[in-house]
């Protein structure tokens, strides 16, 4: 029952609120809100940032797979490599890597505007005019080495599009940089590892990555040489995985196999990893992060970007699943124990994911499953091939990333289905089309990227590791390798054997000490 007298106190506040809302409403109608363009750009930038965060989380996946698949006496060392490769790479890439890779991306097509997710300049992230438009080395429209954006200077501080783009590209670079640590684990000197981190983030990755993503000469093969849409690599089977795999292969070749891995007659000895649960958890985390890696490479979630991203996400899921099933069945039916093998199943899933990384936005789901199934078989063959060639790769980095990076690039040239959403890619009007759908020249551009990465990244990295080896900075001492790198290199045990009985644990006593045979 309302008593009017008791509610009189409400009158003033109610009138005040009504006035407040009406006055605010009038004022708001007169100041401009965000335009549709602003909202689109914001959506794209948010998409790029958040998927970038997911890709960062893949570092945890790599750390777990590599440590789980190697021996416990090296756990602290392996974990440390995988953790610090991010930090070292971040600095190297911020210093010069980003500028080398993307410094000229806005030079080739400055006027493209919003659908530039399909071309060089990430115009979906806002107006980047006046930035990232210089080449240090170029021949006409053919860019070799970019030259703008060193340490993110020149007024970039308030251009959120470039900041988001930098973060996104930086976590991609670090995915490539962490791949070689797996192939060289258990005998890589930490000094050598640090130098390798700078090598990848400052030199080989930005150089060749810029050729494909930074508006460089490989991407331009469509415009300059009529080869399809130029080298097409949506999220980086080539730029990230084949580059990382090539560095890994060069490193594994120079550093040599672990002591005891191969007998004098060439027969191999198994060196089981110490923690399969870690390895499997790592694979799942990597799979999760890949949902940022592939769909996020649309750099857009409005219009075409959304279609590319959604298609990429589904294809990623399917190819990863297919790769895992293929590898598992291969080992079950043809492997030495005729049992489904956890280690190679992990590699199979990752192989499928690596292989779909280039084609994910350009193929349909049937293509994705086919690519994944073949990837799972390729990785098994590659593991056995490396063993025959006496190349020791403790975690399968080369079979997963190098071999399936190549397969991923090639599969664009075969399975790309010419859907309208890829029209305009790399500045070529038509859509990305592979052999199965009538596109005859795309495969050539893809092979050009394969060859460039193999020769330039593989070759230069081989020389780099040879130099490190000559300076005695590459391989650990044999005694250190045998006792485990944790103590000699890190000064710490990954798994402490002494924590329970070190000083500071007091013996519990029933009563204060009053003599040796108290109570009896």
């Amino acid at each position: 029952m309302l008593r009017k007298r008791k509610l009189r106190w409400l009158v003033t506040p109610v009138i005040a609120m009504v006035l407040m809302f009406t006055v605010n409403g009038i004022v708001a109608a007169q100041t401009a809100g965000p335009t549709t363009d602003d909202l689109a750009t914001s959506t794209n930038i948010m998409w790029t940032l958040i998927t970038g965060f997911l890709v960062f989380f893949m570092q945890a996946g790599f750390a777990l797979v590599e440590t789980g698949f190697t021996r416990s006496k090296n756990a602290a060392h392996t974990m440390m490599m995988n953790m610090m490769v991010f930090c070292i790479g971040a600095l190297g890439y911020w210093l010069v890597g980003f500028a080398f890779q993307f410094g000229g991306v806005n030079f080739t097509f400055p006027a493209l505007g919003k659908l530039a997710a399909n071309s060089f300049a990430p115009g979906t992230l806002g107006d980047l005019t006046g930035h990232l438009d210089k080449w240090l080395i170029r021949f006409g429209q053919t860019g070799i080495l970019g030259g703008d954006g060193f340490m993110l200077t020149r007024g970039v501080r308030d251009i959120s599009g470039i900041l988001a783009f930098f973060l996104f590209q930086m976590v991609f670079m670090d995915t490539a940089a962490t791949i070689p640590t797996g192939a060289m684990a258990e005998r890589l000197k930490f000094t050598g590892f640090v130098l390798m981190g700078f090598w990848v983030s400052m030199v080989v990755y930005p150089l060749v990555g810029g050729w494909v993503w930074g508006g460089g000469w490989l991407a331009n093969l469509g415009r300059t040489a009529g080869l399809g849409n130029g080298a097409v690599d949506f999220a980086g089977s080539g730029v990230v995985h084949m580059i990382g795999g090539a560095v890994a292969l060069a490193g594994a070749l120079v550093i040599g196999p672990r002591i005891g891995r191969f007998n004098a007659d060439g027969s191999p000895n198994a060196m089981p990893g110490h923690n399969i649960p870690m390895g499997v958890l790592g694979a799942i985390i990597l799979f999760f992060g890949w949902f940022g890696f592939n769909p996020g490479s649309s750099l857009a979630f409005v219009g075409t970007g959304r279609n590319l991203a959604a298609n990429a996400a589904v294809n990623t899921l399917l190819a990863g699943g297919a790769g895992g099933v293929a590898a598992m069945l291969y080992m079950w039916w043809f492997g030495p124990t005729k049992k489904p093998d956890p280690g190679l199943s992990v590699n199979g899933i990752l192989a499928g994911l690596v292989a779909i990384t280039s084609p994910c936005a350009f193929v349909n789901s049937v293509g994705a499953v086919a690519i994944g199934l073949i990837a799972g078989v390729i990785v098994c063959f590659a593991v056995f091939l490396l063993e025959k060639l006496h190349i020791d790769d403790p975690v399968g980095a080369v079979p997963v990333h190098f071999f399936n990076g190549i397969w991923g690039l090639i599969s664009v040239g075969i399975f790309a289905d010419g859907a309208a959403s890829s029209a305009g890619w790399n500045g070529v009007d038509g859509p990305v089309t592979g052999l199965l759908f009538g596109g005859k020249t795309q495969i050539v551009a893809q092979l050009a990227e394969v060859a460039s990465i193999f020769v330039v990244v593989g070759g230069l990295s081989f020389l780099f590791f040879k130099v490190l080896a000559a300076l005695k900075l590459l391989r650990s001492e044999p005694e250190h390798e045998l006792m485990g790198l944790d103590m000699p290199e890190m000064g710490a045990q990954g798994y402490s054997t002494v924590d329970v009985h070190m000083h500071g644990s007091a013996l519990p006593r029933q009563s204060p000490r009053i003599g040796p045979a108290s109570g009896r």
Binding site: N269, A270, P272, P336, T337, G343, L344, N347, E387
Partner: protein, 127 residues
Amino acid sequence: MTKKIEAIIREEALDPVKDALHAIGIVGMNIFEIRGHGRQGGIPLSWRGTSYSMDLIPKIQLNIILSDNNVDKAIEAITKAAHTGKEGDGIIFVYPVEDVVRIRTGERGHAAIMYPDDIDTRSGKKK
């Protein structure tokens, strides 16, 4: 005369053997986690497609200290509980023990291995 029994048994036999020993009143024991083999062959395994054989197989070694007259009962209990009939069931060793000292009280000899409600108390023997 005090004796030590070392019983090497399968890992999964530990709980049944422990229960069997407690049931007859053998209270004190300790275990080692060991690896070893007798006549049995190794277990074939593979890592990333390379085969290897694990021939030192994880086992449990159970140590018990007890007086002479209880040794046969203990061996019978252990054997019954750990037996499967397949290769790898294990083996038992018996050793003489020179002395035993209980750290808490300083007791030595037979008194050091006596507990309330243990095998000797139940059978009425006291020493």
